[in-house]
Amino acid sequence: MLSQKTKETLLGPLNVNNPVVVQILGICSALAVTVQLKPALVMGIAVTIIVAMANVIVSLIRNTIPMRVRIIVQLVVVAALVTLVSEILKAFAYDVAMQLSVYLGLIITNCILMGRLEAFAMTNKPWDSFLDGLGNGLGYALILVIVAFVRELFGAGQLLGFQVIPQSFYDFGYENNGMMLMPAMALILVGCVIWAHRAYNDKEAK
């Protein structure tokens, strides 16, 4: 169904080419929205949709863009899409829009978007660009979900807002780790993910 190359375009960013843990892009928002699982999930989905769409649009007009102002054109495309998505969310999913609040607007400044537009969409066909955007968005979402899972579980004893660590644990003296709620802990966790990822892939390579 998919050729080897397109498969790599789509699945590469999930593992060997992951935007967060290999290219170290989009770290700032990964720290901000990962205290709980739900905003991390919605953020991951929003970024996936926007990066895929922006990739397609920029790829379609790539031959007409004047080279000197290409970054500005990319930025205009991304900003327009983000504004559009936030307007649509406010009209049809008001609760989610409120939950994401400022982070939604901050997608504009997410380095993954500019990175993919500049590195891939400017030189590739729309379909490949779409797959690349999808793969990178999902790769970003994956790391966000891993970090948010650990932070919400150990920081609040909950997952998606539901209590998962039973009350009996607390009765025995178990306590939630307040450190997990601090942004610094997200950075340490991302570091741990990078470590595990490198260790695994180096072994595979040998």
């Binding site: 709980q36 007409t64 008001y94 409120m98």
Partner: protein, 230 residues
């Protein structure tokens, strides 16, 4: 002839066209979605007010429940600037009792915070409260919206010896001069948001002073109970 995509004229025209297209697109989207968005904002406001009044709307139509309970809107002149919009106070009838709902707005750590304070007919005892925020830290400051924090305000008082004192949000262990009835515990780890809630209550209640200080006949019934408690 092939277009020179790097010429100044081309760049200028290209950018102008791109910006105009995007502007038109966004303006259209905004216009088309505005009625839906405003309906959402209105519905959200009604849900928040119902939350402050502790009315369960999970199994019903919030808009309908709101319309059934609301009596009228009292408007008082804005004490800071009479030319500005008047302040609104909503009067509700809950199980035969009159409740007043006061909209609140203030500042948190990262952005604005707001809420609705529901007072009993004596304009002194807090019946319920609801808070909202633009972007407080999830798991910390954002906890002000949770019931565990909000229910601490119930049955607290805002008047002491006919003086408006508001309710202070204080760190555990600290006590306010007015006494237990006028304070609630802050959220640990969210010092600035908690202080923001405290300041919001104080400044907003002061603005409503003209309304709150006007406590006629009902006060006669309330006073003896208050003395017993003291």
């Amino acid at each position: 002839m092939k277009l020179n995509t790097n010429s100044n004229i081309y760049t200028f025209v290209y950018m102008t066209v791109v910006v105009i297209i995007v502007a038109v697109l966004l303006a259209l989207a905004n216009q088309a979605l505005k009625p839906l968005q405003e309906a959402n904002i209105q519905l959200d406001k009604q849900k928040q007010i119902l939350g402050a009044l502790k009315v369960d709307f999970a199994n019903g139509n919030p808009e309908q429940i709101y319309q059934e309970l609301v009596m009228d809107t009292i408007r008082i002149a804005n004490p800071k600037d009479a030319a500005k919009d008047s302040l609104e106070i909503y009067r509700f009838s809950i199980e035969g009792d009159i409740k007043y709902v006061l909209p609140l707005s203030g500042k948190g750590l990262w952005g604005g915070i707001g809420g609705y304070l529901a007072l009993n007919a004596d304009k002194n005892t807090i019946y319920g409260v609801n808070f909202n925020h633009e972007g407080e830290t999830p798991g910390l400051g954002a906890k002000i919206v949770e019931i565990e924090f909000r229910e601490k305000f119930e049955n607290k008082k805002i008047f002491k010896d006919n003086q408006l004192v508001s309710v202070a949000v204080l760190k555990k262990g600290k006590t306010c001069a007015a006494g237990e009835e006028y304070q609630v515990d802050a959220i640990s780890g969210a010092t600035i948001t908690s202080a923001g809630v405290s300041t919001m209550l104080e400044t907003n209640l002061a603005e409503y002073a003209a309304f709150l200080n006007d406590r006629p006949a009902e006060q006669v019934i309330v006073e003896p109970i208050k003395e017993e408690e003291e």
